[in-house]
């Protein structure tokens, strides 16, 4: 479990994150959602140590990441995997070399053991025939899957995904979401996903944090989001008329009120 307490971060005296506290649970997909500029990427970068928070603590299973020395941080980072928005694959390496890189750097496995592990994770993300392809030769969805394979190859305890669906079509997004969910439950890891994709919210959002102008505005589950009365959250999640109608229908359905065609027609107008 990751617990963050009272995180503050600003750039040039402009606050970007103001007093965010929450918990990310093990074996669940924890989502950070919010509009562009709401501070969710900065929060995630604080979580993984790419940005130092000005104030507050980040506890990884009780150990304060912000107070760790260089060696302890290196040790902790070996337990962290991250999928980047643009996949961040190494251009000069092929798929297999990209996934093998963390093993080459940190494991004492033999060449054969490393190859076996790489084959396993590439098989896990359904990329069997792409070992020798370079990042420039594969699609966006495949790049994300290679990114996931690289992130999980060292069996991390914590997985961070920064906008895993950006630039992907809805169908491929679903595949990536499904993969993230399966890996989270299969390996019982703490997954934190930064997204503004509403399909992801409804598909994999076990625990959701909504960020608004640097503050935690709302927290709950995907079931609770439907019935939330938080206006800012509703304006963000159900931004389109279609989604607003869908939410109204879902609420009515839940209350057992869709009992005739008139109600349905009025909702669909």
């Amino acid at each position: 479990m990751i617990s963050i307490q009272n995180i503050f971060k600003g750039f040039s005296d402009k606050p970007v994150i103001e007093g965010v506290s929450t918990q990310f649970h093990t074996g669940k997909c924890n989502l950070i959602i919010g509009a562009s500029g709401s501070g969710k990427t900065v929060l995630m970068k604080c979580l993984v140590g790419l940005i130092e928070p000005d104030q507050g603590s980040i506890l990884y299973d009780g150990e304060d990441f912000t107070q760790m020395g260089t060696d302890a941080r290196k040790e902790m980072r070996s337990k962290i995997g991250m999928l980047f928005q643009g996949s961040a694959l190494f251009d000069s390496m092929n798929v297999e070399q990209n996934v093998m890189f963390p093993l080459d750097m940190f494991s004492k496995m033999t060449r054969g053991e490393k190859q076996k592990r790489v084959d396993e994770v590439l098989d896990r993300v359904n990329l069997n025939g792409a070992h020798k392809k370079h990042p420039a030769e594969i699609s966006g969805g495949m790049k994300k899957r290679v990114g996931i394979a690289r992130a999980i190859v060292l069996n991390p305890q914590y997985l961070f995904c920064d906008e895993p669906n950006s630039g992907l079509d809805p169908q491929t997004s679903m595949v990536i979401d499904k993969l993230i969910r399966e890996i989270t439950t299969e390996f019982n890891i703490t997954t934190v996903v930064n997204t503004h994709d509403m399909n992801s919210v409804m598909e994999i959002g076990d625990q959701i944090i909504y960020m608004y102008q640097g503050k935690k505005e709302w927290e709950g589950t995907k079931q609770e989001i439907i019935f939330s009365k938080n206006e800012k959250l509703n304006n963000f999640i159900f931004a389109s008329e279609f989604l607003k109608d869908a939410k109204d229908m879902r609420m009515l359905e839940a209350r057992g009120k869709i009992d005739n065609d008139r109600d349905m027609e009025s909702l669909l107008k």
Binding site: V48, G49, L50, T70, R73, K74, E75, R77, S78, I80, G81, M82, F84, Q85, G86, A88, L89, F90, D91, F101, P102, D104, M105, F106, F160
Partner: protein, 245 residues
């Protein structure tokens, strides 16, 4: 950002390179990769530039030597000393500042912008040590070798042109080459080569590593890296000449 802040950042970058490697074998592999990239990759351009510099030196020196009382072998001495003292180390490194400097800067800049450096950091790798140190070390190994090659090819170019144009028969050129030869000049040239090797890798690495933005900023960083490297080479050239000659 003022020049002192940049210089402070530059020093911190250099300090950050010196940590215990996460995996010696991987660092060694990267060092060898960079030796091939910087050293072997620059062989062609260094060879071409050196031969032509030597050739032009012979032609221009002969053109200016009109007095019949000065022996023709002096032309070879002048070509030898100018190539060893100035052309081989300085011109070669100015050319390499463009070739190698822009490559390093754009490579690191692209890695920064596409979050590849962040990905390495997340893995727990000291990116300054893994990405920058092997480049500087590889330059310190290969660039003095390239400078020695440039000296040899420069002198050979001068000798070849002297022979084919009839300005200076090769027997005379060879006699001039060994007359009043000071081995210290080679030592001085190598001192310059090591200094310039550091400049043309460390400065572009700093600009590339600290890129913020996108493709436009990568281009700007490359230009700034090459311009700054060239200026620093000329400045260092003057300082070393003033101190060591």
């Amino acid at each position: 950002m003022n020049i002192f802040t940049r210089f402070g950042e530059f020093l911190l970058m250099l300090k950050g390179m010196f940590t215990k490697p996460e995996n010696w074998r991987m660092y060694w592999k990267e060092l060898m990769h960079q030796c091939v990239e910087l050293g072997i990759g620059s062989l062609g351009i260094v060879s071409i530039v050196s031969v032509f510099i030597g050739a032009v030196s012979t032609l221009q020196t002969a053109y200016q030597f009109v007095s019949p009382i000065i022996p023709r072998s002096v032309i070879a001495q002048i070509v030898r000393d100018t190539v060893i003292l100035e052309f081989a180390p300085t011109i070669t490194c100015v050319v390499l500042a463009g070739v190698v400097g822009s490559k390093i800067s754009s490579e690191l800049g692209n890695m920064r912008v596409s979050e590849q450096i962040d990905a390495l950091e997340i893995m727990g790798i000291n990116t300054k040590a893994y990405l920058i140190f092997p480049k500087i070390a590889a330059a310190l190994i290969t660039i003095p070798m390239l400078v020695v090659l440039a000296m040899t090819l420069g002198i050979w170019g001068g000798r070849f042109v002297g022979e084919v144009t009839g300005i200076l028969p090769h027997e005379v050129f060879d006699r001039g080459l060994v007359d009043a030869f000071l081995p210290y000049n080679v030592q001085f040239a190598l001192t310059k080569a090591y200094t310039f090797a550091f400049i043309i890798t460390a400065i572009p690495a700093y600009f590339g590593y600290n890129v913020k933005g996108g493709a436009l900023e990568i281009g700007r960083a490359s230009t700034a890296a090459v311009v700054t490297s060239c200026i620093m080479i000329l400045l260092a050239d003057y300082i070393l000449a003033a101190i060591l000659l």
